[in-house]
Symmetry: C2
Subunit: 273 residues, 2 copies
DNA sequence: CGTGGCCTTGAAGAATCTCAAATAATGTGG
DNA sequence: CCACATTATTTGAGATTCTTCAAGGCCACG
């Protein structure tokens, strides 16, 4: 049984953290186990269970129907596999159906810089529009599935539908805004503020997907979190421990329970004085 | 005489750095002094001296002509004045005609985080598309002038011209890529690498605008550079001094001369081992 | 049952920040 | 034109934060 087919946690559910098996809480969406869903089915946005989070977000019936003209395939990606690499020719925009991805760039000296984590309903690859090649690569953190939407089709659709055009530019702009806030994090916050911000962000996105916002399983390693937040993995680990000591979190490896949400929020946004 | 009407430095020109007056080198474009150019003239992209850097970049004749249908006004902004504030309703995309801007967000505790510097031909405000309000504010660092392009017009145009649509989405994507590299800077580089990267980037952009890439005048304070690069103003100052000691730069307040470009590049991209 | 990957923790060291003071440049009002 | 307040910059010294290096534990997997 793959990680994908795990039982989603209902909102407000509360597992005993230490005893809970690894897979009891998943970031992956899994209303239906992927294994039982043949990939050959034509993918239609209007019926998709992710339509309120993904590309169709905010679209109403007349336009939503047009979106179904968009034909694209799905693709499975195993844990650890790359969906695309930095520098590769840009052809598709990818929408996460299930699983979690990281996107990352390679630095000149071989190190890796993680630039984002992506979960169900989020788009990946928009940074490739600029130069026709992917500026960063995407790697699955667990077994995953994506919709591979040809960028050319997307453009055609945008030309024919005002609403679609708006949605597309909004999505790109949202990416810019997202990176803004990460820059703020990296530019002016200390280790505790960064990790608190990261966890709160994760928590919100899980909530929006119907999972518990208080208790979840991290799909990424300490090193990946550290790279994303601009700190070393040891510092990430120490900061987790500090939060546990401050009774803000329960941490058991990658299993996280937010004990004191207000406290964590205060760490993230310290009052002046 | 305003700062705007300063004499542009020819490529390869070389002023004696200490004696040079403040205004001898300007980031602002000033082929023609702004004062002699009536603002009421209809602004046409196809004739603009910035057309190879700005919105029309990469467009050929048939499409370029369509771009002139775009009607928009210009606006003067005095040094220190805001062009727009974070949270304000998003209506216009701004193209810098002359002068330099910073964009910045206010943190919860009142501090400011600079998220970018913008010079002639660059667009500002695209982060407002996401939510219909500006995510960051823009402030002139010197007397400046912009084209205020109604976003709605831009959308109309994009719908009618495939090329225009491509240009627009490229511009947004470029913004994403730009922020990616800043994230890398902030996430995994030390003070010297950051400042070197900043100066090299500035140098390239000035070169693209016909100014000297070796010698220029910074329009922003140490504090603003520090905020942008995620370090304190004292560290910025010390790093400038260190570069001078290493004979990479000549620094005289805001006047910078790059003495050893290769050396600076090596600081920015240290070889593995 | 041993191996490798991931995580935690300690201790020492390095980088950066904070606080403080001196200097220079700028603008203000008399 | 000068005295004065204001701002920007530089530099030093000590404090703090984060990193580096090192060791050990836990867990999954073959």
């Amino acid at each position: 049984m793959t990680e994908l087919a795990t039982v989603p946690v209902r909102l407000g559910s509360r597992a005993t953290s230490a005893a809970a098996p690894h897979s009891s809480i998943s970031i992956a969406s899994a209303d239906t186990p992927v294994a039982t869903r043949p990939t050959s089915l034509p993918t239609q946005c209007s019926n998709c269970h992710l339509k309120d989070l993904c590309l169709p977000c905010g679209m109403e019936e007349p336009d939503l129907e047009r979106l179904d003209e968009l034909s694209f395939g799905r693709r499975r990606v195993k844990a650890g596999e790359a969906l695309y690499h930095a520098g590769e020719r840009f052809q598709f925009v990818y929408a996460v159906r299930a699983g979690t991805f990281k996107s990352s760039l390679a630095l000149a000296d071989g190190r890796e810089q993680v630039s984002g984590f992506h979960m169900a309903g989020e788009l990946m690859g928009l940074d490739g529009v600029a130069n026709g090649q992917h500026a960063s690569g995407a790697t699955a953190l667990e077994d995953a599935e994506v919709c591979a939407i040809p960028h050319a089709h997307l453009n055609d659709l945008a030309r024919s539908s005002t609403k679609m055009q708006m949605v597309m530019s909004r999505l790109m702009s949202r990416e810019i805004v997202r990176e803004h806030s990460l820059m703020m994090l990296l530019g002016s916050m200390n280790a505790e503020e960064r990790l608190a911000g990261f966890l709160l962000n994760l928590s919100q996105r899980l909530k929006a997907r119907g999972y518990s916002s208080q208790e979840f399983h991290l799909r990424m390693s300490r090193a990946e979190i550290g790279s994303y937040l601009g700190m070393k993995l040891e510092t990430v680990s120490r900061t987790f421990s500090a939060f546990q000591q401050q009774r803000l979190l329960d941490v058991d490896k990658r299993h996280i329970r937010i004990v004191d949400l207000d406290g964590l929020t205060r760490v993230f946004q310290p009052q002046s004085h």
